[in-house]
Each structure stands twice: as structure tokens, then as C-alpha cells.
């Protein structure tokens, strides 16, 4: 196995070739915020929160989808990156209808935690207040598009782990939204196995158990990595 050596924020890091920059950053115990990324799912670079500066590159690169190269010099926490991350979080808030006070995920929300982490005390962008709906047609679960940030964790977990592929991203631009089946009500999609993995990995209160009220959602995104690892070792096969 060949190894790449790189320098991240003045730390020398050695990591297996083919790893992602995010893996390298985490192996050095450096904290970089992520939202769409989840261990156990393929990376998509949708949220752009893990952007880093790589010397020699004018563009900022998403650490989760960038492969390490020998000799890379990476900066993860410059003032430019801090500003960029706060801006991204503000845009996510202004784009949807995130009313934390009444949200099922209040206190357990990754978006909310990140807003605190990046120092977002207000949004510098006007809120769009889009007119979005709630789908409660499933007997056990609900989807509130107002709280969806299009991280696509649900799309990936349903496709890659559960193999049901209930979810997709429909439409384009500002009209983009998560769709079940062929943009049918969730309850009408026969492919859904009711496994609830999408609920577990959703970083916000967009996907939830029906009947849950404010503050009552407790997602467990960390369980996914254990599940995927167990399957890879054939520990969890039937």
C-alpha cells in the first residue's frame, strides 16, 4: 500500500494513497465541519462546508471528494474559509423555513449545531420563505420539505445501504426537492421497506417519526458506519 504524505495546518500527515482529504484531516484530529458527508455513505460534496485551501489551487476544494496527493499543503481554518462556512450556513437557513423553536430536531439538529459552531448569530441574507409542503402520507414517518437542506443522505442511504432507492432529487434550481418514487406521496411508494434509515441519517428535522413533537427527534447517524462496517465483514448478514 503506497502512502502519501501531506501537510495540514502545519501538521505532517501520512495516509494511504486514494484516501480523501477529509479522511486525512480527520486522521490528524483536525475539526472540519461537514453536513452532507456521513461515514458509510458515498461522498457527494453537496454542502461544501468541508471546503479547504490547497496550495497551488486557486479554487477551494471540498475535502470529502478530493483525493490526497503526495506533498499537498492544506489549510482548513483560514479566515476566508471561516467566512465561507458561515455564509453557507446562512444560505441554508435563508433558503428554507427553519423554525428551530418548534422543530422536532431542536437540540439534536446538525444544522443548528453548525450554526452555533460557525458563529451565525443572524442571517445576512433575506429569508426566502418558500412555500413548501409536509408529506405525512407514510404510516410511520413524515417528510417536511421546509427543513430539508438537500444533503441527499436519505437518497444515498436508501440506495446504497437499504437498496430500496425510494428517494431521489427532483426538479431543478430553486425548485429542487427530495422526491419519493416518481414524485409520489411517500405512503404510495411500494419500494419503501419502512426501515427508517433515512430518518436516522437526516441531519435536520426534515425526516422524522410521525407523532414526534418539538425536540423529540433523536437521530442516530453514527450507527450507519457500524452497520456498513459490520456488513463489509459479513458480521450482519442474515
Amino acid at each position: 500500500m503506497s502512502v502519501c504524505t501531506l501537510r495540514i495546518d502545519d501538521q505532517d500527515v501520512a495516509i494511504a494513497a486514494g484516501s480523501t482529504v477529509l479522511q486525512a484531516i480527520r486522521s490528524a484530529a483536525i475539526a472540519v465541519p461537514t453536513l452532507c458527508h456521513l461515514d458509510g455513505l458515498s461522498p457527494v460534496g453537496a454542502c461544501r462546508l468541508c471546503l479547504v485551501e490547497v496550495e497551488g489551487s486557486e479554487r477551494l476544494l471540498a475535502a470529502c471528494v478530493t483525493t490526497v496527493q503526495d506533498g499537498m499543503r492544506i489549510h482548513t481554518n483560514s479566515s476566508r474559509l471561516q467566512e465561507m462556512r458561515r455564509t453557507l450556513i446562512e444560505l441554508l437557513f435563508s433558503e428554507g423555513n427553519h423554525i428551530c423553536a418548534i422543530c422536532v430536531a431542536n437540540g439534536q439538529c446538525e444544522l443548528q449545531d453548525l450554526a452555533v459552531r460557525v458563529g451565525m448569530d443572524h442571517s445576512r441574507f433575506s429569508y426566502r420563505y418558500p412555500n413548501r409542503c409536509v408529506d405525512l402520507s407514510h404510516p410511520q414517518f413524515g417528510l417536511d420539505h421546509n427543513r430539508c437542506i438537500l444533503c441527499t443522505r436519505c437518497v444515498r442511504v436508501c440506495d446504497e445501504v437499504e437498496g430500496a432507492h425510494v428517494w431521489d432529487v427532483g426538479w431543478r434550481g430553486e425548485h429542487c426537492q427530495i422526491i419519493s418514487g416518481l414524485a409520489e406521496p411517500w405512503g404510495a411508494v411500494e419500494a419503501c421497506t419502512n426501515c427508517g434509515k433515512c430518518i436516522e441519517v437526516c441531519p435536520t428535522g426534515a425526516l422524522f417519526h410521525k407523532g414526534e413533537g418539538t425536540d423529540e427527534k433523536h437521530g442516530h447517524p453514527g450507527r450507519l458506519a457500524a452497520l456498513v462496517q459490520g456488513r463489509s465483514r459479513q458480521e450482519l448478514e442474515p
Binding site: A101, I102, G213, D215, E216
Partner: protein
């Protein structure tokens, strides 16, 4: 009085919400009518549409920071009906406990913080001092007691729901968490001090009513009207629609029961709402008698009129004395203040009884079910009066329509009659001839509103503090004088 002038008074006056008063003079130059205009609008009924009904408790609790528990409980009760479940007995008792705590803290705020400075410091005392801070200077023991009493009520809410304001604890089907023995003991330990404070408040107010406030009894909104509210089985005082509640009663000023055992489910058959172009606050009335004769009062005064007894020793003793003072059916709105203190006493005694019940520690506190009913009405007695939440949902539980009938709105006609009565009495020809209206007189008109402890942020879902304006209009509609605060 032909010249137009404006008088600014600071600080903000002492009610919850946003309003103004206009006083209209007739052709003879005397007061013809006074109007209480509520000038804010928030639109909760509209923007709740499309949300899951399970969120309604948390959303509607945000209507108010003073009485969020009332909305929480009414919404949870409506949610119970949508699920079509009977909630566990312990949950019923815990909800009652929280409502008692809510009534205590809200009444303590109304009496000690907002209203008592008027009659303890004097109508004509310095407006800069006529507030809770002035009271702290003049009567620190009473002020501290009032603050502690409110703190006790808020503390019980926090102990049950995790936080003092907007505790999302009552849910459709019951409550989220049971009560521990440790928390029960903590609440019990606070009861003796709370009893002492309310006793002190009762003694002070009764003494004032016997001496300096006799005139106010007859001037501050004394008129016949209907009274509406919940009553318990055996004609007992009631504050919650669960358990031993015997439904809604409507009583006339002569003590005759106009309607009894009414269900909240049928509220639209016996209540209607009139609208005036000059206020966002609607004017509910008892349908059978029309907008004028059907106007009614709700809240502490109504609840004490509607019941025969409270059902606890000390409060019943006070109730008897209260009726000696005001009659079997009290029509003097100024006695809302006394009724509030008696209700605090009743709440403390009922709280004691609930905490002694071992069932309140039961751990099964939530029933779970799917949507089984598409339309439901929940009712609860908020500190200010009867509160109704009416939801229609689709088969998945998404809200299609909401109607909220709030206590303050139901007192709207009575509040207008009260300020008209005070204005006619106090703003005599001699006073109106003065180059500038006395602030104390206008404060008395505002105090007429304070008797009802209106929560305008609830009733119109308004927001913000309470800049209030009093305007004086001549017969030709010209603005003659104006006092504004805030």
C-alpha cells in the same frame, strides 16, 4: 378644547399587547363613548395551516410568553381528540398541575407587577414610579412576595416541562415525562411561602376595598352581563376540561343559568364573533341573545360567579366573603383583582391535593395512536378566561383549518363598556374644560382595561411590548387630545 395637542408619557404601561383607547365626545361636549382598539395582528390561524397537528402545541404556545401553558394545554387537548384517546390518569393530573401553576404565575404578574401599583401607590402618583419598581421602593415586602409567588408558579412549570416558558411538554395523548418524587417534594416545599404571599395580598386588597377603593367598585365596569366558563361536577370551580369537568356554563347577572353542560365541540352553535372595523380584536357573543345582550365576561370573575363552591377550605371561605362584598353574582369588574387572588389560593390548595395523590407519580403518561378524528375542539381555562382551539386536519394529520377563541377577545365588549363607564364618570365637563387632561384620570381609564388583565398578544396574536394611546375625539371627529406611552 379646540386646539389639538399631544402629551407623551413614559414608561410603557402595564398590560400585555398593543392597543390604544379613543374617547369620543358628543355634541354636548361630554363623553359619549370610549373604544379600546387593538391594533396588532399576527395571523397564527393562517400560518398553522399545512403543519402537522402534533406541532400545534409548540406553535400556539408561541402566541404568548405569559400564558403559553394555556395554549399548550388547549392544543394538547385538541390533539387528544384527533387521536381519539383517553389520556392516562397521571397525565391528566400533571396537566392540571401545570395549569394551576400557570394561573398562579399569571395572576401574580397581573396583580403584583401590573395592577397593584395603581391602587397601592395611588392613581395620581408619579407615573415614573407607578410600576413594580415603585412598588419595590414603597412596599418591598409585598413586591418581593409577588415576585416570589410568580417565581413559584414559573418554577413548577419548569420542574414539569423543563423550562419556564414554552415548555413543549403537553403533547397529544398526554405529557412527555412523568413527575419524580424528588420534584414533587421540591414543589411541595414551596407551597407554604406561596400561601403566605397570597394571604398578604388578600389582606392588603380587602383593606383597600373597604377604604379607598369603594368608588372604583361602582365605576370600573359595573354592569350586568352574561358570564361564561367551565364548571366542575357538583357546581365546583373548574379550570380544566378533563376529569371532573361538567362542561361550559353560561350565567346571567341575576344568577339564572342561561345554558349549562355545553360541550366545546358545539361552540359554533352557541358562540358567534362580531367584527368592528376599528379593532383587530373580535367581539364574541352568546349567539342566542345577539351581540348586545349576548356579550359576556370570562376569567376569574366569571369562574367564581359560575361555581357554587371552589372545593377547598380557605378558598371557599374567601369566596363567601367575596360574595358578601359583591353579591352572589359579582358584576363589578374591579373585583377581577380580588377574584384573581382567591383563585391563586384555590390553585395552591388544589396543587397541594394533587401532589398528595400517589397516582401523580405514575410513569405511564402518554397514549399513542394515529389520526382517528378529522375535526376537534379543545377547551381550557386560561388565567384570563375560557380558551378554545378548533382544528380540522386531513387524513394524515395536516392542519387544514384553525380557529382560536381567546379569553381576552371574549371580554372585549366588557372592556369597551368599562372604559366608557370610567370616562363618563371621570371626564366631567369641568375636567374636559382644562387645558390639559390629567394623566391620573387617563390612567384610571387604562386601569379599567387592566382589571381584565388582557393579553392582546394572545387575542390578536400581536407581538411586542405595549405602547398604548388614549385619544380624545370631539363630536366632529377631530382629535382633541392624546396621551401615548411607549
Amino acid at each position: 378644547m379646540s386646539t389639538r395637542r399631544t402629551i407623551q408619557i413614559d414608561p410603557v404601561t402595564r398590560i400585555e399587547g398593543h392597543a390604544k383607547i379613543s374617547i369620543h365626545l358628543g355634541p354636548d361636549g361630554l363623553v359619549e363613548t370610549a373604544r379600546f382598539h387593538v391594533t396588532e395582528y399576527r395571523g397564527f390561524e393562517k400560518f398553522c395551516e399545512g403543519r402537522p397537528f402534533t406541532e400545534m402545541a409548540a406553535i400556539t404556545a408561541r402566541i404568548c410568553g405569559i400564558c403559553p401553558v394555556s395554549h399548550l394545554l388547549a392544543a394538547a387537548r385538541t390533539g387528544d381528540k384527533i387521536l381519539a384517546v383517553s389520556i392516562p390518569p397521571a397525565a391528566e393530573k400533571l396537566r392540571r398541575l401545570m395549569n394551576l401553576a400557570q394561573i398562579i404565575q399569571s395572576h401574580a404578574l397581573s396583580f403584583f407587577h401590573l395592577s397593584s401599583p395603581d391602587f397601592l401607590l395611588g392613581w395620581d402618583s408619579d407615573p415614573q414610579q407607578r410600576n413594580i419598581f415603585g412598588l419595590i421602593s414603597a412596599n418591598p415586602e409585598l413586591a418581593r412576595g409577588g415576585i416570589r409567588l410568580r417565581q413559584f408558579g414559573q418554577g413548577v412549570i419548569e420542574a414539569l416541562g423543563g423550562r419556564k416558558i414554552h415548555a413543549a411538554w403537553a403533547v397529544p395523548g398526554g405529557v412527555r415525562a412523568p413527575l419524580s418524587a424528588k420534584t414533587r417534594d421540591q414543589i411541595t416545599a414551596g407551597l407554604p411561602e406561596a400561601h403566605a404571599v397570597v394571604r398578604q395580598g388578600l389582606d392588603v386588597l380587602k383593606q383597600l376595598l373597604d377604604q379607598h377603593l369603594r368608588e372604583e367598585l361602582h365605576v370600573f365596569g359595573e354592569f350586568p352581563s352574561l358570564f361564561l366558563g367551565l364548571v366542575g361536577k357538583g357546581d365546583r370551580w373548574e379550570h380544566s376540561s378533563g376529569g371532573d369537568c361538567a362542561g361550559v356554563r353560561v350565567m346571567d347577572s341575576d344568577g339564572s343559568v342561561v345554558a349549562d353542560g355545553l360541550s366545546e365541540d358545539d361552540y359554533a352553535s352557541y358562540l358567534s364573533e362580531a367584527v368592528e372595523p376599528w379593532s383587530y380584536l373580535k367581539f364574541p357573543y352568546f349567539k342566542a341573545l345577539g351581540p348586545e345582550a349576548g356579550s359576556y365576561r370570562v376569567g376569574p370573575l366569571a369562574r367564581l360567579n359560575l361555581c357554587e363552591r371552589i372545593g377547598s377550605e380557605q378558598a371557599d371561605r374567601e369566596l363567601l366573603e367575596y360574595r358578601d362584598r359583591g353579591g352572589r353574582v359579582v358584576t363589578a369588574s374591579f373585583l377581577y383583582h380580588l377574584a384573581r387572588l382567591i383563585e391563586i389560593l384555590a390553585c395552591l390548595e388544589q396543587m397541594e391535593r394533587l401532589l398528595d395523590d400517589p397516582e401523580i407519580l405514575a410513569t405511564h403518561v402518554r397514549a399513542r395512536a394515529e389520526v382517528n378524528c378529522f375535526e376537534a375542539v379543545g377547551i381550557s381555562e386560561a388565567p384570563r378566561g375560557t380558551l378554545l382551539h378548533h382544528y380540522c386536519v386531513d387524513e394524515n394529520g395536516l392542519i387544514e383549518r384553525v380557529n382560536l377563541i381567546i379569553a381576552t377577545g371574549q371580554n372585549n365588549t366588557a372592556m369597551n363598556r368599562t372604559i366608557t363607564q370610567i370616562a363618563k364618570h371621570d371626564l366631567t365637563a369641568a375636567e374636559l374644560a382644562q387645558p390639559q387632561l390629567k394623566e391620573a384620570l387617563l390612567n384610571r381609564i387604562e386601569a379599567g382595561i387592566r382589571c381584565f388583565d388582557p393579553c392582546l398578544s394572545c387575542s390578536t396574536h400581536a407581538s411586542g411590548s405595549m405602547p398604548m394611546r388614549v385619544q380624545l375625539f370631539g363630536a366632529d371627529g377631530a382629535l382633541l387630545d392624546q396621551v401615548s406611552r411607549g
